[in-house]
């Protein structure tokens, strides 16, 4: 390509045609900026992608550096997994919702746990008061888990569980349920989130301090390598980092910095990179800026491939392959004119698909108001199905690849995110950067800037700071029965009476002994779960041994 000639033509276009037009009609704004606060140019040309080396930077789907996709045929072979995050109230109610979603054509389960479960409290703990069954299903023991998956064959579905601090305990319960169904753990497919670093940085459901938390994580890596080879042992999550206010660049940077920390911890624990790295998976946010988001997914894939290969010297190309789940951005949903959210979700879902996601959750229109109703969940799922079956975007791989703008953005995101990673390395790695509040305060600064842009109308949110109309709030929002907490407590009480207390005590003692030593914690946790020790009891043993984490001050 004759770049010089293009340059000349472009200059004459800018100084001639464009200038004349601008004299007559100014542009809408003096500066066009994207969410990462980067200038968006009027036009992108081959000059913007001059340094792109196709084979080095883009290559072919299913091959290093995976910029264009992780599978050779992508959605021509199999569509992404449509996986709606759901769960509320009791195990019985959630079980019903899962069966409904599977009947509607959903292809994988995604379990939402309530906050007491996520923080390792039983439903009758004082801190659990008011929270039981609210943002997800309440699980106190294996007994609840048995009900949750009743009639769902665990060798047929893949299950994703949003669980972090007590990931080991919930995974142990899943293994125990499978065993009761007669399913071998080697057949189990699914994911646990298990990403504690982003809990400290953005989401807040941590229990233990970083060091023992990292031990739990690497113990899971080791255990699954042997016993659950099809299980994704971690879902390194940018989603919540973005929800907390990060930009696209920060989302990629902080997520990958966390990923680096997990690899380093696992290597330090004596694991081999090519044994555990293929089971690492990721979880990203799909936000409103369609093209920036597509570039973000592509940049993230390429960066991860390069990091794993160059920094950690992996040999197996499966270790370098970034597979990820995507959820549309909850923080973009508005309480005003909630039906508009359907359109937002459509654009975001499209970004995820054009960006090559492996699975997708689409938010429901009413989630800025309450838990989603069944109707809203169905529309959200249909949105994915329309993209998959009607839009045509799934029929060719990486359809936006080669666009001057997309390639430029992909390069820019990679470059800026790498700068962040370098800075975090200098601070001593992600755990230390989080401990010092660096990552949190970077995220907060972006959140505050965003909010101020909205206040000043530099950023338009339709229905919120422009095009407002008085619309009636939707009726029939899902409400969790406040009596549920009492019922759950009664169930728990009954379980404590009925179970073999001596067996519980023995299994908890074994767990404590392992915690004091250096053995793999999963082994005694699985035994404790099977003895019907409650989640709270198991987590308390480790609280006593490991201590509890307190938040960082970011201001």
């Amino acid at each position: 390509m004759d770049f010089k000639k293009i340059q000349n033509e472009q200059t004459s276009w800018e100084q001639g045609t464009v200038k004349k037009t601008l004299e007559r009609f100014g542009e809408r704004k003096e500066h066009f900026k994207n969410g990462s606060n980067n200038e968006v140019k009027r036009l992108y040309t081959p000059l913007d992608t001059e340094e792109v080396d196709y084979l080095r930077d883009l290559g072919f789907p299913g091959k290093y550096p995976f910029t264009r996709g992780v599978q050779p045929t992508m959605y021509r072979g199999r569509l992404w997994t449509m996986r709606q995050y759901a769960g509320f109230g009791t195990a019985e109610e959630s079980n019903k919702r899962y069966k409904y979603l599977l009947e509607q054509g959903q292809t994988g389960l995604s379990v939402a746990f309530d906050l007491p479960t996520q923080i390792g409290y039983d439903s009758d703990a004082p801190m659990a008061s008011g929270e039981v069954g609210k943002v997800g299903v309440a699980i106190d023991s294996l007994a609840d888990m048995e009900i949750l998956f009743d009639g769902i064959p665990l060798d047929k579905v893949s299950t994703s569980m949003t669980i972090n601090a007590p990931a080991a305990m919930l995974l142990a319960m899943y293994i125990a349920v499978a065993e009761k169904q007669g399913v071998d753990s080697k057949q189990l497919a699914g994911t646990i989130q298990n990403d504690i670093l982003k809990e400290y940085a953005a989401r807040g459901t941590y229990i233990y301090p970083p060091k023992p938390s990292m031990r739990l994580i690497t113990d899971i890596f080791a255990y699954c390598t042997e016993k659950l080879p099809r299980w994704n042992t971690i879902s390194i999550s940018g989603y919540h980092i973005r929800e907390a206010g990060a930009t696209a660049v920060q989302e990629v940077a902080f997520t990958l910095a966390n990923g680096i920390a997990y690899i380093e911890a696992a290597l330090k624990a004596g694991l081999d990179i090519d044994q555990f790295a293929p089971r690492l998976s990721f979880f990203f946010n799909a936000h409103n800026d369609l093209l920036e988001e597509v570039a973000k997914f592509r940049a993230a894939r390429r960066m991860w491939a390069r990091i794993v290969k160059e920094r950690f010297k992996a040999k197996d190309s499966r270790s370098m392959r970034m597979r990820f789940h995507t959820q549309t951005a909850g923080c973009t949903l508005t309480a005003q004119q909630p039906d508009n959210n359907i359109i937002r979700v459509t654009i975001q879902a499209l970004a995820a698909v054009l960006g090559g996601t492996q699975s997708l959750h689409t938010n429901s229109r009413d989630e800025a108001l309450a838990l989603p109703s069944e109707d809203s969940v169905r529309i959200a799922l249909r949105t994915q199905q329309i993209i998959a079956y009607e839009s045509g975007v799934a029929d060719t791989i990486d359809p936006l690849g080669g666009s001057y703008y997309i390639e430029r953005l992909t390069n820019d995101i990679e470059e800026q995110a790498m700068e962040y990673i370098k800075k975090i390395d200098e601070l001593g790695g992600a755990p230390e950067a989080i401990e010092q509040g660096y990552i949190q305060s970077e995220i907060h600064d972006s959140a505050y800037r965003y909010q101020n842009e909205v206040e000043k109308q530099e950023r338009i949110v339709v229905g919120v700071n422009k095009f407002q109309t008085e619309t009636e709030k939707p009726k029939g929002l899902l409400k969790v029965d406040p009596e549920l907490e009492e019922r759950q407590k009664e169930k728990l009480e009954a379980l404590r009476k009925k179970r073999d207390q001596a067996a519980v005590d023995r299994s908890l003692k074994a767990l404590r002994d392992t915690a004091k030593g250096s053995g793999n914690l999963l082994v005694p946790i699985v035994e404790a779960v099977k003895s019907y020790a409650t989640l709270g009891e198991i987590c308390d043993v480790l609280r006593e041994e490991f201590g509890e984490y307190q938040g960082a001050d970011i201001f």
């Binding site: 230390e432 307190q550 938040g551 001050d553 201001f555």
Partner: protein, 326 residues
């Protein structure tokens, strides 16, 4: 709540009254003098510990654990956590409680966050007033925590009976940067987060500083290593504090130190009062703007201008125009 009632409740040990009293004193609301006068009749038993160090050194966590340590030997602890106010908006973000969860509901511990504000007469005086209130209320240990930046923050901890300087590995040049102001005032040096790499380096540097700055002092500051987030080293720290207290008392320095502090405070307060008293007169009598113009135009120098102002006010006073009330 009127003031008599407030003071009565304060004496009865009402935390609500204590909190209100602190606000009144901090804000210099009408009646604050009455409160100060009342509480000055008692107190003097609380031992004051100052803790300072750079941001990120884990001070709040350390204070949290220190307070917990004192609680476990039966002492009541009052904490004053000072954070800077924004010079632009006057607002402040007071986040120290985040790291003090463990002690936040203990009935024998009281935590008060304080913003530096633009305190007339200095932040130090305002913090001392709060500490006086805590003392009068019966706290046996009073901990004052500040970020080790800015002179007024340093002044606060300097005024403590025992001053603790917190360092941490990995913050690079902080010790260097702080050497000027902070390092000469420490009675105890803490290296927090002592499980991080680089402890030896910090220890070596501190050692050097102590040898240099304290070579002729009879009290050689000890270096205590802590991992506050796990409560490690706290017993040793409390032991070092008691040792310092014993040293001060044995050498007769304790009362000497406190005396010096009161004298210093008195002098500051007198000059503040004088200034406050005369400053409206200054604005009345002379045009600062005109004087400034003259200085800018090279017609007058700064010292002569100041002298002229003072002289004109004193003349006024001789005429009986300005009275000094006693």
């Amino acid at each position: 709540m009127d003031y008599d009632e407030l003071i009565q409740l304060f004496k009865e040990g009402s935390y609500r009254a204590l909190s209100r009293a602190i606000s009144i004193v901090e804000n210099k609301e009408p009646g604050f003098r009455k409160i100060i006068a009342e509480i000055s009749r008692t107190g003097g038993n609380g031992y004051i510990i100052g803790v300072t160090g750079p941001p990120g050194s884990g001070k709040s966590t350390l204070v949290n654990e220190l307070a917990w340590g004192y609680r476990s030997i039966g002492k009541r602890v009052g904490i004053i956590a000072v954070d800077p106010s924004s010079p632009f908006t006057g607002g402040a973000f007071l986040g120290d409680r985040v790291r003090m969860q463990r002690i936040a509901t203990d009935k024998g511990i009281y935590i008060r966050s304080m913003a530096s504000r633009g305190h007339l007469g200095g932040l130090s005086a305002a913090a001392r007033n709060v500490s006086r209130l805590l003392d009068a209320f019966g706290f046996e240990i009073i901990i004052m925590e500040t970020v080790g930046v800015g002179q007024s923050e340093v002044d606060i901890v300097k005024a403590a009976d025992t001053t603790i300087i917190v360092s941490v590995p990995g913050l690079g040049d902080d010790i260097q940067a702080n050497k000027a102001g902070l390092m000469e005032i420490g009675n105890i040096f803490v290296i927090n987060k002592a499980d991080l790499t680089g402890v030896e380096r910090v220890e070596m540097e501190l050692d050097k500083i102590i040898k240099m700055a304290y070579h002729s002092a009879s009290w050689k500051p000890p270096i205590i290593k802590t991992v506050a987030s796990r409560g490690e080293g706290i017993t040793e720290l409390i032991e070092a504090i008691s040792k310092h207290e014993r040293y001060l008392k044995d050498e007769g320095l304790f009362s000497q130190k406190r005396r010096g502090r009161i004298e210093e405070e008195l002098v500051t307060l007198i000059s503040d009062h004088l200034f406050e008293h005369f400053s409206p007169k200054i604005e009345d009598k002379v045009s600062l703007k005109a004087l400034t113009d003259k200085i800018i135009n090279h017609e007058l120098d700064l010292y002569s201008a100041a002298e002229a102002v003072v002289e004109s006010i004193l003349k006024e006073k001789d005429k009986g125009g300005v009275k000094i009330e006693t």
